[in-house]
């Protein structure tokens, strides 16, 4: 317990000393590049160091990463807005491909999210025994890729980092997975790559049509007024949406998600569900909406329908699952539907809700997967029919699972409520002032999802933790979570609580991105 805490503190201490001047001086270590480099560096260090150092290195580096995450979050100036901490290095200048990093309010939240999930994932993988070194190397590379994708302001690098993240995922599922792991790994990777193919074509189309031959997101966003005419937007927006949508498991391209998460090792499902999946919604807000607002408006009815199907359909399917982890996986699909629904409102409240929901879903899904993994590690089965009454032998994990369930259900006081509430507010507003009347009728259907979520989560709590202890062997064999198992889950719960109890700083931050974006979108029509 003490060495773990000491390592975490040491990681923080290093961050706060080394990156002290990062936000001010030109000679300071670049904060955002460090955020990408640290996990990748961690992979190399693990490669070189003796195997018994592996998890300590990972924890130390993850703590540093978390320190940077906090730093970005706290230093970011909401009042100023725009992209901050920008780092620009010319790369293939003639082709308009440059290494540009920068965060605005929305991506600053995502940076914090990545850091939190990386930190928790490092801890939850503490007791991995099979090929520990390789596992942590791939895990760290995965984080590096995701971190880069969230910070890139250049579509080329965005794409590069994204692909960089998908491949370690394939190996993580294929080697350390459970169940039909080869099938799941293949399915997940192929579907994600197919999605990214659409994405890439869209990027290239934007690149050539823009007339200025650039991949710079900031410039492409402004081109919506001059460069991309309405026909272009109408044609390309759905392709981009499809590409990004596959990442976010939009119906009917969602089936990689339950199989993938069902098979993936705990930390991999945490990172994927919490962070990589959120990239879909994030990219729609970052790339597709600013560059093609007319396209978005044109396709809105279809997109709203898809997102609603995601929300409700996945929730209904979750009701019938027989595997503990599959329920959570479908729940994650359903929550991503809520994010897309929020985006489709094209309203300040709805888009802010979508971002807060992205953050919240990242934290909460990671927490839930961490719990499922821990319980699975103890009970050695995930079949709901065989579990039951586990609260008697693992009261702390049971209590934490109830908390996680409530966060998923959207209980006020935890982060899920803030996002959902804002999304519904935005959805209603979309309908209220003329605009897209489709929302007025769909709004109650969307709210139905919150009832469905309550039903399947409480069913899960009942089937796994409540009732009499089903397997009497558990009485002697199963112990409650240890310190190292509880720590990451409790950490994520605290983050969710903070957002739920005092959402103002988080919403202010996301609004720093959304308010100008909405102004920008309103400029059309």
């Amino acid at each position: 317990m003490l060495p773990v805490l000491a390592t975490i503190l040491a990681g923080f201490a290093v961050t706060f000393n080394f990156f002290h001047a990062a936000s001010v001086g030109p000679n300071a270590l670049p904060l955002l590049t460090s955020f990408i480099v640290i996990p990748i560096l961690s992979a190399f260090m693990i490669l070189a160091a003796p195997v018994q150092w592996t998890r300590w290195i990972s924890l130390f580096m993850a703590s540093m990463e978390l320190g940077i995450g906090f730093k970005v979050f706290f230093i970011f100036q909401t009042a100023v807005g725009g992209f901050q901490f920008v780092e620009e290095v010319p790369w293939l200048k003639n082709f308009g491909i440059n290494y540009i990093l920068g965060v605005d309010g929305m991506s600053a939240l995502m940076v914090l999210l990545v850091a939190c999930v990386y930190f928790a994932g490092s801890l939850i993988s503490w007791n991995i025994t099979l090929r520990m070194k390789e596992y942590f190397i791939l895990f760290s590379l995965l984080v590096g890729g995701v971190a880069g994708a969230y910070e890139s302001l250049d579509l080329f690098f965005f794409f590069l980092f994204y692909e960089f993240a998908v491949l370690p995922m394939y190996l993580l599922v294929g080697i350390w997975g459970t169940g039909r792991k080869e099938y799941a790994a293949m399915k997940l990777t192929l579907m994600l790559l197919a999605g990214s193919a659409f994405m890439l074509v869209g990027f290239i189309a934007m690149y050539f049509t823009s007339g200025v031959h650039t991949f710079d997101i900031r410039i492409l966003g402004d081109l919506a007024k001059t460069g991309f005419n309405t026909d272009f937007q109408k044609f390309w927006f759905p392709l981009l949406f499809l590409g990004f949508g596959v990442i976010s498991a939009v119906f009917p391209f969602h089936t990689w998600s339950p199989d993938g998460y069902g098979s993936a090792p705990t930390a991999a499902s945490m990172l994927h569900a919490g962070v990589l999946k959120s990239l879909g919604g994030y990219s729609i807000i970052r790339v597709a909406l600013p560059a093609m607002p007319d396209g978005a408006k044109f396709w809105l009815p279809l997109l709203v329908t898809l997102s609603l199907i995601n929300m409700l359909y996945a929730a209904i399917v979750a009701l019938k699952q027989k595997d503990f982890k599959y329920v959570i996986a479908y729940s994650s699909v359903s929550h991503c539907g809520a994010i897309l629904f929020g985006i489709c409102t094209l309203q300040v409240a709805g888009l802010n809700g979508a971002i807060i929901q992205t953050f919240s879903h990242g934290i909460v899904a990671a927490m839930t997967f961490a719990l499922v993994g821990t319980v699975y590690g103890k009970a050695h089965t995930r079949e709901l029919i065989k579990l039951g009454g586990l609260a008697a032998v693992m009261p702390i994990l049971g209590g934490l699972f109830v908390a996680a369930a409530m966060a998923n259900v959207g209980l006020p006081g935890l982060s899920g409520f803030v996002g959902e509430f804002l999304i519904f507010l935005g959805a209603y507003k979309s309908g209220y002032h003329g605009g897209f009347t489709i929302f007025q009728t769909l709004f109650p259907i969307a709210i139905l999802a919150i009832v469905m979520t309550a039903i399947y989560y409480l069913r899960l709590v009942q089937m796994v933790f409540y009732g009499p202890l089903k397997d009497p062997h558990y009485k002697d064999e199963v112990r409650d979570g240890t310190f190292i198992e509880i720590l990451p889950i409790a950490f994520l719960l605290v983050v969710s609580l903070v957002v739920g109890l005092y959402p103002k700083p988080f919403v202010d931050m996301s609004n720093a991105t959304i308010a100008p974006l909405i102004e920008h979108i309103r400029g059309f029509k």
């Binding site: 359909y313 109830v402 109650p444």
Partner: protein
Amino acid sequence: MIEYSWLIPTMPALAYAVIILFTRRSKVLSGLISILTMAACLGLSVGILIEVLAKAPADRVISISWSWLEIPPWTAHVGVLIDPLSVNMLLVVTLISLLVQIYSWGYMHGEVRFSSYYSYLSLFTSSMLLLVLSNNFLQIFVGWELVGLCSYLLIGFWYFKPEAADACKKAFVVNRVGDMGFLMGVITIGMVFQTFDFAEVEKMVSTGVANGTFQTGFIAGIALLLFCGAVGKSAQFPLHVWLPDAMEGPTPVSALIHAATMVAAGVFMVARTYSLFLVDQHAMTVVAFIGGFTALFAASIALAQDDIKRILAYSTLSQLGYMIMALGVGGYTSGMFHLTTHACFKALLFLGAGSVIHGVHNQDIWKMGGLWKKMGITAATFVIATLAIAGIFPLAGFWSKDAILAAVYESQIPGHIVLYFAAVFTAFLTAFYMFRLFFVVFTGEPRDHHAHDHAHESPFTMTIPLMILAILSISVGWLNLPGFDAYSKFVYHGEFHEEVFNWTMAWASLLVAIAGIILSALFYYWKVFSAEKTAETFKPIYLLLKNKYYVDEFYGWMVKKFVFGLASICTWFDDNVVDDGMVDGSGWITRKMGSLFSLTQTGYVQNYALVIFGAVAVIYLMVSF
């Protein structure tokens, strides 16, 4: 004191955190922290009451806000609203909480999760106080959901019992259904008025309706959406099904949450948002009839139940229906007054029932009997509460129930005479089934000798709260003695106007109640009539009542057929169409295409040469023509 009012919900929340994080291992410490915090909250509440009373009636509304979330044009606040209504609720909640917590010390002794129990109670009280003190729609919703969570945790406190595990889930989900409407109402308010603040919304509604900006029907729609939440939380028909099942929780919890405070939150919420309801008479009529129907409906079910706690649960439903009906007919003061008196005598009834259960370890009234001699204090306090709920002069229930009857009788809504007779008949039934319960449990010969021999009076920690509540059940009603009217002059909506106590009506209802008691005595005390034979004679009716009009069965069937049926269809679709069909299908097509084209890879050089020759020939032909 008022400037410290924010401490009232904060302190129990801190107590919860401290118990969960630090003192979980020490039962004594955890219990003490929780009880002392509650005592401090009660002290603060009394201080606030004194301070508010010292002010002139016009200055009694104080609202303090802090920004919680800002998205222009909205600012959501956390805040505290001190006015007579919230002070009334503050006192009820903190007082009953304190007494129940003291009582639990004895009732829950020996419980392994004693500390968790106290932490949940603290969290509950905190959430309830957050709800009560709220000055805006969003915060009241937040508190509303949080009390729902605590209710879930406490109903499922003995989670290893399958019934408890079922009941807590049911309670949460049924409440969620009502909350859907509530949430839609809150969002609509946020949308239309661009604010969540009660006072501002109230102002905008009154000016907006006056100058025709808002149609009254629209406001009524919002009010009814909010009312959906109240129907869920206050367990009104058709969302009443969760409350009887909630009796699976520990009995002190039933007393606190499912009788005195949380279930009254729906009534409180309607009172809090009363201006929206008052705008349109149709909304009021709906409220009044749902309340009146639930009162009669639940009272009739209570006639045929055998479980001591379930009888009390149906009685709670019925009394909540009374309060809702009172609000619906415009009897704001009488509804809130009944809430207050009911909190005292219903908490007493439940705690008394708990004392009985503690003594005989059973909940079936037909296994009890003759407990009067064994449990003197419990029996004496129980009879006081029973008289109070039956509405016997001069106990608390007499004054509050008659205020409601008078309000119904004098109201202007269509069909109020029907409601009046339904209410009077409910009063008759209430007296009958409550005394049935009393006679069967406490008088006559013991039915189960083993249980009877084992029975004993409860410890002091349990009987002292009983005695305090008994005193309150007698005397709280005197706050509103005709001519004195301390309560009516304190809690009212809009302008205060004197109400003359209607003695004729009071005597009439008293006679009805006494008739109910006498009839009950004829059946169950003197046994002039045989209950079994009557049940046999009216068997269909008896079965209908005993099975609660089969509402649970109907809902169960609906959920099974529709929700799970739909889930089966969707799951099938997902597995077979989306997954096997589209996803694996595209993989299959790719593989087949691969094997098809692989036919061309024969490995014979002459084949390749043939293809090359053919291709060259084709290209040549194309170019030359």
